[in-house]
């Protein structure tokens, strides 16, 4: 049996000392070892995107990365998106525009959009729809997700967060 690795994982700016088998995916480590269950597991083969998190600011599938690989990297999850009680503009836009129903895919969409907008704040409407095709949603038919991200992109461009 493979031995466990003792590593420090930095998630949302906070250090977590974890002892993990190398076979544990980052998604499982975040959920089970760090107690951050906002990252959801929908397919474990990289298609649905429910487990999308940011690793060094890039959106990645946390089911397709092992936890040990996130050592010395900055991981961000949905739990770190809001600023205290103030929702991130993406969260606010999803709320106001009914960008979620069951909410299971929502953390993945939020982190996908957050990462993509950080890389390119000036994405066109078509580019936004294209990037959002990375993840699956079964409830909304996508249009309110697309609308929410477009609105949040405008809000983010308009000014820094309060």
């Amino acid at each position: 049996m493979a031995s466990k690795f003792n590593i420090d994982l930095t998630v949302n700016g906070k250090s977590h000392a974890v002892s993990i088998e190398p076979r544990r995916t980052l998604a499982d480590v975040l959920r089970d070892d760090c107690g951050l269950t906002g990252t959801h597991i929908g397919c474990e083969h990289g298609v649905c995107g429910a487990c999308t998190v940011l690793v060094d600011d890039k959106p990645v599938r946390s089911c397709l990365m092992f936890g040990v690989q996130a050592e010395r990297k900055a991981v961000r999850t949905v739990e770190g998106l809001a600023d205290g009680d103030t929702l991130h503009p993406l969260q606010q836009a999803f709320w106001e525009n009914h960008g979620l129903q069951c909410g299971f895919c929502t953390p993945g969409f939020l982190m996908l959009a957050a990462g993509a907008l950080e890389e390119n704040p000036d994405m066109s409407d078509d580019e936004i729809r294209d990037v959002l095709s990375s993840n699956l949603c079964r409830c909304t038919g996508y249009q309110n997700i697309v609308k929410a991200v477009r609105i949040a992109a405008r809000a983010l461009r308009a000014g820094p967060r309060a």
Partner: protein
């Protein structure tokens, strides 16, 4: 202040947006991990199961005292089949659970499951619907020698005459391939054992928690009070999470056997192989049309592949009997003959999936109308105009009574919204440039919010339908609503809060709704069949209305007036035509703490109500404009318009979300998703790389227009809207594709209309890609 009719942002959302949602996989705690060993073969005799030493593994022999899951329909043509929670001697579909592993974590449980060898003497599996009906086939279950588990028939007296008098008889063979609801959250359950009481609490991702408790208690021979079932946040269900599955029975059995907490979180491959499927249907239709396009008679042979077992509690009758009863849809049809069968095969069980039969029957009727229109030289819209129901209440040949609707008006509005003459001009111009655009219509009815009479008519032993709601206002004037229904992500709590707010004159955020906990809610049926807003909404309105009446009585006594002159609004009880008012909080406190003052009233503010309606029909018209690439068979939906009549909208934003989400699943049904087995019954589409839900790149903007017919059949004036999107879209999309390809004379009668299937028809029509 009216809360009904406002697009209030949902009360459910802030926690979900912050990652604080609580789904079953988030509630595992210290539970041991459960993994099911599943049959690698679709059919055969179990000759042995080898269990690695030193592991905790149970098989069907260990669970011999557990009763099979055996749902009943009281009909002479129904064959009851028992589904063993773990089989002892035979496997009946590939993926069926045959043993269960308990280990310290999921990976180790899977390691052990890999080493459990199930020896099976394989037999030829029956996979295909029509193969199962062929004579000489070894039956899937000995109880059903013809492989038919349920069969319904009817024929009106004048059907033969209708066909004799017909100017045109249209005969169609239609096929819908199998689909999965594929909710983003898979199934799962955590069974927690309480050492002190011996009680088990099962938290599970389900749509019918009360039913699950009854079913598990029956299977295990335990009293219901020893089991508590909780449905936490549920990540979508769409019908798949209605049924009682063997895994949940096994979980509770394990918790009691091992006296410890156990958790099973289904993975995606299991969800595809062993949860539930739907829509595997073949319909043969004959329509008798008069010269003017009126449908005089319809004769139908309907076959539904119900898989290996019958789903509990609604049974394998759900698709075939729905098809039988509702095939005529929105059309004024006098003569109808039908035979509808549910056919068992060595495949995963069929269970309700959003729309249940109606996507296929709408597809069938709407294709029939199109073919008849073409043959008779009548315009698509005109032929429907001549056949749609316009007088209400309307009684269908199967005895269904349709309440007020707007079938014709909805279609006219839809036709207007696409500006058909302008579209035809654009279509003609595009064809000259080698671009093939088409428009397709789909008109349908959606029977929603039906109570016990409808289910009793099917002969169900377990008759669902009503909902009970308890409404309590506490001394500070806040309200708790306990509902038997159980949402799975559709925003029911917000909509109910809006309804109750208007009854009680307080703001929605002061209403807390408790659902999905058998310890904390009255018995109820859950979420399915587009019923929650009509039935749970109706019961909520009634219960809140009773509390409101009591508040008014108290207010009247305090302000020395009559209850009839009191209105409740914005937190106040006001006396009409005066400045007199008392805060609702003051009345609430008085109800509890000064109850001696109110003669004839019981203390407190706690009321209960039941609603059990007959049902109401929503209706809609969908229009798709689709472009087809004749060289690849690829399609692009340019526009999709829905004219929907679901009565009064409680929260328009939520209603639109239901429609758009339903349409996306309908588009998936039309173009993308297909469960495929090989001829041995192995599932070939067990991942999202092979089973293809569409993404934001494939689903267009959905344009929605509302009509609001008020029906006396719903006390909230709302009709159901959960399924309509999925029902109407396949027909509209395929009709549009056929219209686009009309220069080639191509017809399509198969769902999904994949690029390959479209291209095959084009190839047959002589359209080469290499010219």
């Amino acid at each position: 202040m009216n809360w009904i009719g406002r697009s209030l942002p949902r009360l459910e959302d802030p926690s979900l947006l912050k990652g604080n949602g609580s789904y079953v996989a988030d509630r595992i705690g210290n539970a041991a991990s459960v993994r099911f060993v599943r049959s690698p073969l679709a059919r055969g005799a179990i000759t042995g199961i080898e269990i690695p030493s030193g592991t905790v593994v149970f098989t069907g022999r260990d669970l011999s005292g557990v009763k099979p899951i055996r749902p009943i329909l009281h009909r002479p043509d129904y064959v009851a089949i028992g589904q063993p929670v773990l089989p002892v001697d035979r496997v009946t579909f590939c993926g069926q659970a045959v043993a269960v592993v308990v280990a310290e974590d999921p990976a180790r449980a899977e390691d052990i499951a890999d080493r459990v060898f199930v020896d099976i003497e394989g037999e030829n599996a029956i996979v295909d619907l029509d193969a199962a009906l062929a004579t000489g086939t070894a039956p899937v279950h000995p109880e059903a020698v013809s492989n038919v588990l349920v069969e319904g028939r009817m024929k009106t007296a004048g059907l033969d005459t209708a066909f004799e008098e017909a100017a045109e008889i249209v005969t169609l063979e239609l096929r819908s391939h199998r689909q999965s609801a594929a909710p983003m959250e898979n199934r799962g359950g955590v069974a927690v054992y309480d050492v002190a009481s011996g009680r088990v609490t099962l938290t599970a991702s389900v749509q019918m928690p009360h039913m699950l408790r009854t079913g598990i208690a029956d299977a295990l021979g335990m009293t219901e009070s020893d089991l508590r079932v909780i449905a936490p946040d549920v990540g979508g269900g769409f019908g798949q999470k209605m049924s009682l599955f063997p895994e949940y029975v096994v979980l509770v059995w394990l918790a009691r056997k091992l006296k410890r907490d156990v958790a099973w979180i289904e993975d995606r491959r299991e969800n595809f192989t062993a949860s539930a499927h739907g829509r595997d249907q073949a319909f043969s239709l004959r329509g008798a049309f008069a010269k003017d396009g009126r449908l005089l008679g319809l004769d139908a042979d309907l076959r539904s592949n119900v898989g290996a077992f019958s789903c509990y509690p609604v049974t394998c009758g759900v698709e075939p009997l729905m098809a039988l009863a509702e095939l005529p849809g929105p059309y004024d049809l006098a003569e109808y003959g039908v035979r509808s069968r549910g056919v068992t095969t060595n495949t995963c069980m069929m269970a309700p999936y959003r729309g249940v039969s109606r996507p296929m029957l709408t597809f069938s009727m709407e294709r029939l109308m199109e073919v008849a229109a073409t043959r008779l030289g009548i315009d698509s819209v005109e032929i429907r105009r001549r056949n749609l129901i316009t007088a209400f209440p309307h009684r269908s040949p199967t005895g269904l009574v349709y309440d007020e609707g707007s079938y014709l008006q909805a279609m006219e509005a839809a036709a207007k919204s696409v500006d058909l003459p302008a579209f035809r001009a654009r279509q003609a111009a595009a064809r000259l440039r080698g671009h093939f655009l088409g428009v397709g219509f789909s008109v349908f009815s959606e029977r929603t919010g039906y109570g016990t009479p409808a289910y009793a008519a099917r002969g169900m032993e377990i008759v669902p339908g009503y909902e009970i709601v308890d409404c309590t206002m506490d001394p500070s004037g806040d309200v708790v609503l306990r509902i038997g229904s159980s949402p799975h992500g559709q925003g029911l709590k917000t909509s109910l809060a809006q309804l109750v707010s208007d009854e009680l004159g307080i703001e929605p955020h002061r209403i807390r709704i408790i659902s999905g906990d058998t310890d904390a809610t009255p018995y109820g049926w859950g979420t399915f069949a587009s019923r929650s807003m009509v039935i749970a909404g109706g019961a909520s309105k009634l219960a809140a209305g009773k509390v409101a009446h009591k508040l008014k009585t108290i207010a009247a006594q305090l302000m020395e007036t009559t209850a009839e002159s009191i209105t409740l609004e914005n937190g106040w009880a006001r006396v009409s035509n005066s400045n007199q008012a008392t805060a609702i909080g003051v009345l609430a406190r008085a109800a509890y703490h000064q109850s001696h003052r109110f003669k004839g009233l019981s203390p407190g503010l706690h009321e209960s109500a039941v609603y059990d309606p007959g049902g109401t029909f929503s209706n809609a018209c969908h229009v798709a404009i689709v472009e087809v690439d004749i060289e690849t068979g690829g399609t692009r939906i340019e526009r999709f318009i829905v004219v929907e009549d679901a009565g009064v909208l409680i929260n328009p934003m939520i209603v639109d979300g239901q429609i758009a989400g339903g349409v996306a699943q309908g588009i998936a049904n039309a173009l993308f998703e297909e469960i495929i087995y090989d001829e041995s019954g192995n599932l070939l589409t067990a991942s999202f790389a092979d089973y293809l839900p569409p993404t934001s790149a494939e689903v267009p903007e959905i344009e929605i227009i509302h009509m609001e017919t008020v029906s006396p059949e719903s006390i909230t004036k709302a009709k159901g809207v959960g399924e309509g999107g999925a029902i109407g879209a396949p027909a509209a999309v395929v009709n549009a594709i056929v219209d686009a390809l009309s220069p080639f004379g191509i017809q399509l009668f198969e769902l999904p209309a994949t690029p390959q299937r479209i291209r095959e028809q084009l190839r047959r029509a002589g359209v080469a890609t290499h010219g």
